[in-house]
Symmetry: C2
Subunit: 373 residues, 2 copies
Amino acid sequence: MRRITVEALDDIALGAAVLGTGGGGDPYIGKLMAQAALRRHGDVELIDPHELADDDLVVPTAMMGAPTVMVEKIPRGQEIVSAFQALEAHLGRPVRATMSIEAGGLNSTTPFTVAAELGIPLVDADTMGRAFPELQMCTPTLAGVTATPMAIADEKGNRAILQTIDNRWTETFARSLTVDMGCAAMIAIYPMTGRQVKETCVLGTMTVLEEIGKTIRRARLVHADPIEAVRAATDGFVIFRGKVTDIARRTETGFARGEAALAGTGDDAGQTLRVAFQNEFLVARTEDRVLATTPDLICMLDAETGEPITTESLRYGFRVAVLAMPGDGRWRTPAGLAVVGPGYFGYDIPYLPVEERMGAEGIGSDGPSSGSA
Amino acid sequence: MRRITVEALDDIALGAAVLGTGGGGDPYIGKLMAQAALRRHGDVELIDPHELADDDLVVPTAMMGAPTVMVEKIPRGQEIVSAFQALEAHLGRPVRATMSIEAGGLNSTTPFTVAAELGIPLVDADTMGRAFPELQMCTPTLAGVTATPMAIADEKGNRAILQTIDNRWTETFARSLTVDMGCAAMIAIYPMTGRQVKETCVLGTMTVLEEIGKTIRRARLVHADPIEAVRAATDGFVIFRGKVTDIARRTETGFARGEAALAGTGDDAGQTLRVAFQNEFLVARTEDRVLATTPDLICMLDAETGEPITTESLRYGFRVAVLAMPGDGRWRTPAGLAVVGPGYFGYDIPYLPVEERMGAEGIGSDGPSSGSA
């Protein structure tokens, strides 16, 4: 157990912006909400998952919706507590701690608001190891943990408790309600026992995020290359450097979808990279080859400052470095790929681990080449 | 208190088909479900609302969705009980009785399934005095009674409890979930005290429906005119007789919408009547004048047999009589018209009580002319 301060949230949010892979909502908003709550109520206790008793009840909390809308519609903080409390009342027993469902974006920090407001700890873990756009895309799903009962609430005072036969139906219903609620809603979901958290979640998330954030901050302080710092801290690869030449985005069925085109610079001059996204970056490919796909992480950082760039803040002319990092091993299994692989998102591209794509192509110089190279 | 038998349900369903004003779902399906339940569990106790204690808890049950779909997707009966039980569990205290939300269509009889399966009484009342397409269109809404908490369930085992800030939001959320559930779902809604039922609902509904059904059945037996029998039993007007020449229908956002065109016969020869519907018939007008609008009831009956015709069974060539009947007085107030008047459904037509429209036009010969004639 250790305490997370207002200052530590700066590093965590910065790390979350990297692992947000362009989505997960603007981490700046989640951070502002969480920091305001910490200023009102004091630091938040971060507990190691192994400090949980097997029968402790843990309820992750999150914001759901299109990031493009969330930026316009900043939550007051109380509605996420309201979602949490509605689920706790439904469950009929006290919840020991809250948790993040995503390691990336807004939702890495939103649960700090709940923890601070209610004086409960936050578990150092998440259910994705990155950000993903849909509710069933959580490692507990792969282990048969159900997302429901879940609570969903809006800022107007509306709320619902959902109970579904599988986690894909949870996503369907919650997405429809989120759209009705104005494309942004607060949720409390995947109620789990301490044992389920330990066995089915990605552990140590907040510590990793804080470390990534610190790495970038330190690199800036000493005028080191923040891109290289992030690459090293994440076992990643710099797959492309370029300038944004085109960006198409639309908000549909509650998601921010689109594609960005980048003209290569430096070693990549003459090449064009297209990066497709649905809230998060999903596929990065040049004219003739695929460089990385979901479930591996694709991140875009400002080429100079290393500042992570979200899909909704991406603009023409931005000079960026595109990084790719290995996704959690559970996502790389056939069962994991069925839930979050390129095929699920409609791309007829076989999944290959990014380290194999990089190694096999002989451009693994930025990182370790894989055994298949 | 009296008992409703399998045979009595024939009359009730027939009466419900009349007051269903073309919508409310096919009463035949509701009847089959209810009769099957009565055969398994015995007759259902029908209680007068005045037999309810003020603090008794009553939970109406219904099927929600596009009638066009409900015909294809007949419920098994257990899912409506599941919706009722989910709400009862959420409320945390035993429910004394169930009730119909609509006097028309499928939902007049679906609650008999719940009453029979659970061995609880059904209250002789409803919340519309007819059928309407949306959940907020219930007389308790006008008295400030909230539709939530409500439960919604599908045949697959999915369910949700909704808690909304007003009854319009209840409709929005429940409609989205109904669409996700395949355009047909079972609901338990408007939990009320006995006192609220007595003060805010339309009372004596089942008795009225049974009487209308009996009237038609008797008219057929003695070869009397069933159209005139229905008109007399409902204080209605025969506003048009004709043949269906065109019918346009589409299922969108969970509703069956469309319009039927009728070429006049007999006294109405040379005239064309257009009847617009959204699940229920809403507006009936000729080229040059409006004959009737919501919230008054517009019913289409087979010209020979008096059999009520639903919007989804309506076909080219049908010979029909169109009847109009005064809606419940509460719907005719400014507050009522704001919820179910022509303007709400997008028609730029002032509401005039059907008896005024008929009287003022001097064709009130089929019924009492109003004082304004």
